[in-house]
Amino acid sequence: MPLKSIARPLALAGHALPWLIVIGYFFTADYYLSFGTEIMIWILFAMSLDLALGYAGILTLGHAAFFGVGAYAAGLFAIHVSPDPLLGHLAAIALAALLGLMTGAMILHTTGVTLLMLTLAIVSVISQYANQANDLTGGDNGLQGIKLAPIFGRFEFNLFGQTAYVYTAIVLFIWFLIAWRIVHSPFGRSLGGIRQNPRRMRAIGTPVWWRLLAIYTISAAMAGSAGALSADATSFVGLSVLDLLSSGIAAVMLILGGVRRIYGAFVGATIYFVVQDYTAKISPFFWEFVVGGMLMATVLFLEGGLMDLGNVARRAVERWRGGADDA
């Protein structure tokens, strides 16, 4: 079996690939560097959604609440408390986690459509509040005037976005390691059980509600971190971060790439942005049509997302071979 002997190096190469791309992009992107930063921020957001929606099966369309609260928290912290980006980032994570813990404790005993509606209600309350609280958030005009101190007093956020890029990449890598550790732990496995059959998990003694609350809080912290990065990278927070569309786009990325595969978020977010960038040049609204079509096709024909293409192809080859043997 020659295949087995190369499987391990192949897997290692596969793990290294996305990070090599992240590093390679930094040296080749020039003016497109902020595009890469934006993609990485959305990878992080989609990955946080994967933990809650994909692994634990928490049906939510309200994840933008955590992204948005993280973004506003980081921005407001920079303006009113301290310009230190790391402190602001930590504050944003803490606030998003707290919100996740509080709302999660209230809603996670429900399931299905009720849960979906509760998450929508939460994000709607927050977004309407942000719209009304002009003095605090800038309302429709967005939060402006975010000025950050250099990271560790050395690395300044500059016009070309090098600092923002490296900073985002490092944060993404840390969260990636955390997410990887979680989903391959017994705790992560138990989430799969809860997703598939919560009653049975309860019957064998799993504290279902606590487990869901734990992953929901972690996921909220991660989304808040993505929001903080977005506020730092663009020095701006707009109301649209709290839109239903934001949650929708993260879900689109997730399903495009593949749910319950940490790298699915990487593939999905990248494809989404490349397609959006490319089609928006043809016509400013064409991307919605294309992305919607891609999403529908993925759900209908490729349930595992693009990351599953390999398996689908292998199965097709096996079927074809099997068919040939029969003949």
Binding site: T110, V113, V252, V259, W287, L295
Partner: protein, 289 residues
């Protein structure tokens, strides 16, 4: 003071009627086939744009709204048979994502065809003028909405509660497997009801364009409201969605008059509390357990 209260009530009821007309089809989809359909607002939007297109070119308003209903119903039929039907057996996540995809496609198409700006439906002159209703002048358009909504609600009530079709539908909502076991064609029943629901949504989108203004973002912007009506009323419950739509319309209007700053988030906060208190809505169908 009394006339003020009456005005607020009329405003709320006319708004509620529109919410009811659009949402009643959604309650069937979610109650009967357990499909989370986020694309329902897109059907209302399609209806509205059809009516807008026709009336802007001098078409008769009433015929245009009927054309809107037919167009939305036809779109509903096509999408039910092609993309929604394979979804019934898949999980809620797949349903949410696919219907979001439909919203994207609809929004993109509408923007390409009609542009990104609000798109008006031209109402007949006599509907745009205020008329005297005894104690004050009141917009005829809103009275028209209340009248049309009341007639359709009554017709639907008769259809659902008094006809054999309604008896079958209620039986299927309460227990689809049992209904199948005694020989009802639940799939056919559902397709038919889904089409009627989409047609009503299209009709509601057309005549309600004076309140819920048409724009490409319509489908995503208002679908939360329609979902709220369904969830608050109880999935699959007709009386529930009527009561919920009226309550929502009136609460929202009262809020806008008295606490204009807090109204938007108070509404969603109320929904949040209500769903925590009664996760199955106000008036859930009897045996949906």
């Amino acid at each position: 003071m009394l006339s003020f209260i009456l005005t607020v009530l009329l405003d709320g009821i006319s708004y509620g009627m529109i919410l009811f007309l659009i949402s009643v089809g959604l309650t069937v989809t979610m109650g009967l086939m357990r499909v989370v359909n986020l694309a329902h607002g897109a059907f209302a939007m399609i209806g509205g744009y059809v009516a807008g297109y026709l009336t802007q070119r001098g078409g008769n308003f009433y015929l245009s709204t009927i054309a809107a209903a037919i167009a939305a119903g036809a779109m509903g039929a096509v999408s039910e048979m092609t993309v929604l039907r394979p979804l019934y057996r898949k999980g809620e996540l797949a349903q949410v994502l696919l219907t979001i995809g439909m919203v994207f496609v609809a929004t993109g198409t509408i923007t390409e065809l009609f542009g990104a700006f609000p798109y008006p439906v031209v109402f007949p002159d006599y509907l745009t003028r205020p008329i005297n209703i005894g104690f004050r002048e009141y917009p005829a358009y809103r009275l028209f909405l209340i009248a049309v909504g009341a007639v359709i609600a009554a017709a639907l009530w008769f259809l659902v509660e008094r006809s054999i079709y309604g008896a079958r539908l209620r039986a299927a909502v309460d227990n689809a497997r049992m209904a199948r076991a005694v020989g009802m064609d639940v799939n056919f029943l559902f397709t038919g009801t889904f089409i009627v629901g989409c047609a009503l949504a299209g009709f509601g989108g057309a005549i309600g364009a004076g309140i819920l203004s048409l724009e490409p973002a319509y489908a995503l912007k208002y679908v939360v409201l329609f979902l709220v009506v369904v969830a608050v009323g109880g999935e699959g419950s007709f009386e529930g969605s009527f009561v919920a739509a009226m309550a929502l319309g009136i609460i929202d209007t009262v809020g806008k008059y008295f606490v204009p700053l807090a109204a938007p988030y108070l509404l969603y906060a109320a929904v949040f509390v209500l769903l925590l208190w009664r996760p199955r809505g106000l008036l859930p169908p009897k045996s949906v357990a």
